[in-house]
């Protein structure tokens, strides 16, 4: 169970105009602009739900994921994940979640994938039997047999992403955060990843929160959509709610962005 209530988060960004004179002035006096990444965000997600979290770049998606995973402290508001406040008891909290950042890597670059997995086993103190079961299941579902023994640097992006997802599920977390998991993947890998996420949710009742720009991801995966723009929640409903007539999903969402003036 995830509860987010009235959460705000702002960043300070140094700004100046172009030119040497301005750069010199900025040495002595910096001007900051406050960016409201999240303003008064509230939502609730129940156990076993699969939610697509969408919005244009810079809307506040990643900030939300980071707050939910305990990496970021909100300025105000309350966050509860399975009865814990993520940023307060980070160590306890992170044992129960899995996170995939599509644009980063958690695997050790120069050693075979399996070595990174073994390390995760020790980090989370996963019991031997559970580890073996999970690894077997993940290997089968994500088709990793050939990949486990290769160094990460020699994997393609699609292969690596499959391994990243497996890595985040070895400790059987109850909640899985996926921050743009299909970014840059080819059609085949995307389908593998989607199918897998779906299965994971059905089999283990894992709560999945997924941010993406790929509307086919949303169409394939989530019943529920939360649309965020300029730090505010604009819409919280099902795909059917927002679809109009025969318009494709991309057009629908583009229409939404336009309607809310958040392009």
């Amino acid at each position: 169970m995830i509860t987010v209530e009235h959460v705000c988060k702002s960043y300070k960004i140094a700004k100046r105009n172009a030119g040497f004179g301005e750069a010199f002035k900025a040495l002595f006096r910096r001007e900051y602009e406050v960016i409201h990444a999240l303003s008064d965000v509230s939502f609730q997600i129940s156990d076993g739900e699969m939610v697509g979290y969408i919005g244009p770049n810079g809307a506040g998606k990643s900030s939300t994921i980071k707050i939910l995973s305990g990496i970021l402290t909100p300025d105000s508001g309350t966050v509860m994940v399975d009865g814990r406040i993520p940023h307060k008891n980070r160590m306890e909290h992170v044992k129960g979640i899995g996170v995939v950042f599509g644009q980063r890597s958690q695997l050790w670059w120069d050693v075979p994938v399996i070595d990174s997995f073994e390390l995760l086993k020790d980090i989370y103190s996963i019991p031997k039997a559970a580890y073996r079961n999970n690894l077997e299941e993940l290997t089968e579902l994500l088709n990793l047999t050939e990949l486990l023994r290769s160094p990460v640097r020699q994997l393609s992006l699609g292969q690596r992403m499959r391994c990243e997802i497996a890595a985040s599920l070895l400790h059987s977390p109850r909640i899985l955060f996926l921050d743009e998991p299909t970014i840059g993947l080819d059609a085949v890998s995307k389908i593998v990843v989607r199918e897998f996420i779906k299965k994971q949710n059905e089999l283990h009742k894992t709560t999945v929160i997924l941010t993406t720009h790929d509307m086919q991801d949303i169409e394939a995966l989530s019943q529920r959509i939360i649309l965020i723009g300029k730090g505010k929640i604009l819409l919280d409903g099902t795909l059917e709610d927002i679809k109009r007539g025969d318009a494709g999903i991309d057009e629908t969402v583009a229409g939404l962005y336009r309607a809310y003036d958040i392009e």
Binding site: Y11, A37, S63, K66, S69, G70, I71, L72, T73, H87, R90, M91, E92, V94, K95, I97, V99, F101, R104, S105, Q106, W108, W109, D110, V111, D115, S116, E118, L119, D122, I123, Y124, S125
Partner: protein
């Protein structure tokens, strides 16, 4: 504890993969070792009585230093750690039930040990068969050798604890370059990496020996070469332990503060 040992193991394994780097390092260390010995030899011939160490002890010091360079060279830092902070991969580490400080500590200790293991043996073997007084002399006794090993490990830990400050500073400065250059050149000079501490003027020496830098390579290398004895040794070992404790306490405190700051400003 178990998880940090795993970090150590994985870093160690990763380090063992870089064979070409090890070979290149070894060649450099041979060249550097011979060069240094020739320089000291020239000084020795010019005025032997002004020499604070015998030429044989100096040679042992230099060869041991070259063999175990990777354990103590403060300028050899783990670039993976800098990248993790600057590029944001640290986000992943923060999503794990681990202490960042302990993780980096074991990681960088392992990187140093793996480099040293790959490089030390050929250097030790060649230096052992070099003619006297230019090679490595045998240790004075088994006791000396044991003490050498213990202080070698303590020295490594002090070096890692010291470099942790440079890693953690990246949280505050974005680019580690400045802090890194100041810290490492200072450490190299005061630790006896360029010239052994006995070659400093006596007044300097009295101060330098109390600083954390003297608790790095200075102690094991001088115990091995026999230029540190008796009460001096005891004091040096105690200082090593004290500095290790102080540096780790300060460093992990600073690291916690840095994590908090990072989590407030954005990952």
């Amino acid at each position: 504890m178990h998880k940090y040992l795993s970090f150590f193991r994985l870093s160690f394994m990763q380090g063992l993969q870089y064979r070409t780097a090890a070979l290149a390092g070894m060649v450099t260390q041979f060249a550097w070792g011979f060069l240094e010995i020739m320089v000291f030899q020239a000084f020795f011939q010019a005025q032997a009585e002004a020499f604070p160490m015998t030429i044989s002890a100096t040679a042992s010091y230099i060869w041991m230093q070259q063999a175990f360079l990777a354990l103590f060279a403060t300028w050899m830092m783990d670039n993976d750690i800098f990248d993790a902070i600057a590029r944001g991969n640290i986000s992943y580490s923060l999503c794990r039930p681990i202490r960042i400080y302990n993780m980096w500590f074991s990681q960088s200790a392992a990187a140093r040990v793996s480099r040293a293991v790959l490089r030390c043996f050929p250097i030790l073997i060649v230096a052992a068969i070099l003619p006297k007084p230019y090679g490595i002399a045998k240790p004075a006794s088994a006791w000396h050798f044991g003490l050498f090993l213990i202080t070698l490990i303590l020295g490594l830990l002090v070096t890692v604890a010291f470099s942790m400050f440079v890693y953690v500073s990246t949280f505050f400065t974005l680019s580690p370059q400045g802090v890194r250059i100041v810290f490492t050149s200072m450490a190299d000079f005061f630790a006896g990496a360029i010239i052994p501490l006995p070659f400093f003027p006596p007044k300097w020496q009295r101060v330098l020996e109390l600083l954390p830098f003297a608790s790095m390579q200075n102690v094991p290398l001088r115990i091995y070469s026999g230029s540190m004895t008796g009460a001096e040794t005891e004091r040096a070992v105690v200082l090593q332990v004290i500095w290790l404790a102080v540096l780790v306490l300060l460093g992990s405190g600073l690291c916690r503060a840095a994590e908090k700051k990072a989590t407030i400003q954005g990952g």
